[in-house]
């Protein structure tokens, strides 16, 4: 009986994690679809799972080489990222907004809830236009 309960618990946890990841991917994709930029979006991420998920969708163009991408999704600060890069950078950690000056927005979990932040000045600098449904998430500054 205990074994059965253990299996059920593990399974539910696994499913729970899967649904968290799924939600993150869903939000990310929605964000990407809701951003208008001058050039066609070529996505690259340092997270293999994100890349895999985007590749599976025919709505996005992913590239395997960082240099070929114009839209970067980062989970952490990467060494080869220069401050003067013209790539659009979206981060998955609120603090990275500070560490990566070019990053225009972030999706992160705060108190267990998904939170989205876009920095107004950086959006403007990068000529990125958000759809109306993302506008409530625009912030004047990083707090």
């Amino acid at each position: 009986m205990k074994f059965l309960i253990l299996i059920l618990l593990s399974l539910s946890l696994l499913l729970g994690n899967q649904s968290g990841d799924k939600l993150k991917m869903q939000i990310l994709k929605n964000i990407c679809l809701s951003i208008k930029s001058e050039n066609k979006m070529k996505i690259w991420s340092d997270d293999i799972n994100i890349m895999k998920s985007f590749k599976e969708s025919d709505k996005f163009v992913t590239v395997s080489n960082f240099n070929d991408a114009n839209f970067i999704i980062l989970t952490k600060k990467i060494a080869f990222l220069t401050e003067d890069t013209d790539k659009h950078i979206f981060v998955l950690n609120y603090c990275l907004l500070e560490y990566i000056p070019n990053s225009f927005g972030a999706l992160f979990w705060k108190k267990g809830r998904p939170n989205i932040v876009f920095i107004k000045s950086r959006l403007e600098d990068q000529s990125l236009i958000l759809s109306d449904k993302l506008k409530p998430y625009i912030e004047e500054q990083i707090w």
């Binding site: 009986m1 705060k110 267990g112 939170n115 912030e139 707090w143």
Partner: protein
Amino acid sequence: MVKKSDFVLIAVLVGFALFFVYLYFYINNTQQAMRNYVIENKIKHMSNVFSHIETQILKVKGSSDLVTVLKDKKVRDTIEVQLTQILSKNTKYVYFLFLDKNDKFRFLLDGSVEDKARFYQKFDPLKKEIYEDVYHTAQVKTVFQKNMENLSMTILYPVKQNGKVIGILSMDMTTGVQDDITKMIEPLKNFFVVLIIFISLLIFVAVIQFFRYFKTRNQLFHDPLTKIFNRNYLQEVAPSLNLNHYSVAMFDLDRFKVINDTYGHKTGDVVLQECAKVFKSNIRDSDILIRYGGEEFVLLINKRGEKDNSFEICQRILEKTSQHIIKYDDNEITMTLSIGLYQDLAYESNLVEAIKKADSMLYLAKQRGRDQIVNYSKNIQNISTSNKKGVDDVKQALDDDRVICHFQPIVDAKDLSILKYEALVRIVSDNSETIYPNSFLPYIKHTNIHYKLTKKILEIIFNEFKNSDKNVSINISFLDLLNKDIVSFIINNLSFNPSFASRITFEILESDEIEDINIFTQKIDILHKLGSKIAIDDFGSGYSNFKAVLDVKSDYLKIDGSLVKEIDSDEKVYSVVKNIILFAKDSGMKTIAEYVSSKEIYERLKILDVDYMQGFYLAKPTENIIEKIEI
């Protein structure tokens, strides 16, 4: 077929299972109720704590702008320390939210240790409308979280100034409380789950057993050959049968043994199957047809309606059976049926007694020439009653060891020396009177008691003569010789004692029961092989068959007493006896004249040169053996 207790058992098990399922859900509800109770208490408790913090916030705020005041880290630290104190195993985050003019919630204070928010950082709560509702209603609200880390619930406490909400104190609780309750309840739930599984298994096993039981019962109560009910079923239903609603008919296939002996047992089986089909197709669903044994069937006819048409049903079966042609192995066989019918079962104490009555009617049907129905009626009631009495008397005598033998000498006609003694059965009554065989033998014929009696007589005779040098004559019927027990008993006693066997003569009465002369000769051969002698009894009347007498190679021919007693008064009888003696002499058989009751008969028989004589004139049957004849 199914006992009430079987259903009760299943019903009880199902009842238990339902009860435990109910208990399981009851415990689930209890768990929910406990959770709600804990939450309510938590809210109550937290409201007190939050109320204190609210006072602190309002105190530092005063009339200033809240954001401006709390911008000061020192001020924030003072209050956040108090918020941090609220944290516990089950309380993960405590923070103070503010709704800005753009309807965005922002952290002003955060007492959380982990995942601490920055001052004025935007917060996107799930179910934002509830947060906004707290702002509008100024009431404490709870938000139940789902699939969110390990958070289960958030308590939202409005911080009010002058009745206006200026912020929300928010506390995120982990699933710990729920886990604690679950931990408390889980063993009990598990117990009931195990119990439900166990009971379910029990029900499953019971149902399986139930069906197996049905199958076994079905096999137990059906005759595998004819697929109709067997005697076990009769025993099963007999106690519960309402005798008022039934007639009973006993069927017996006429001369079935001849079929078996002529065509073989396989054909016999086919005949039984075919006849059973005919019976079944001519009865109703409410009638009960039973193979009683061998070629005997019992039909319990349900008396539906006011008119009892049991006789008509029997008549129909009788006709249809005789009309039915059974084809097997290029043979075409027709069978006839004897039926004993008894309709007044209500007068009987039980079904067994009713069947006995039908059986006695069947016996009469056989006696009257077969292929007919004999219905029990007032006219033959007396016969039947005496039949029963005869059977019961013999049975009782056997049980009480009151069966004895008298011995009558059979003497040499020339010198009156004793050749042998004929053993004659007697029963000693309760009041020590001697009962003669004509008072009981006719009634026990064809019954099991007859065989028992024969066996008893054989026992008595074998014990009496085994260790003497005298010869003995034993009466035995053809039916007795068909009984395996009796034949085995004879073989067991005589096969190892040829000297004793040679001193025994079996007197066999020719009768209508000898349907197949081949079987008859086979049985006689067994006795011959043992070294015993054979005498044909009562020759000259009834079923006398010269050919049969020659076939069985009889040693003696006993001239029937009805002829002997008239030999001195009827010249025609004299002539018949004379010819019988001549026939016997020519065939190498010795003759015995019985019923020699007078000097005149004795003298005439001497003239005819009969070999041996027996009768009251010479010696009466006595319990003790007579050693010498004195005329």
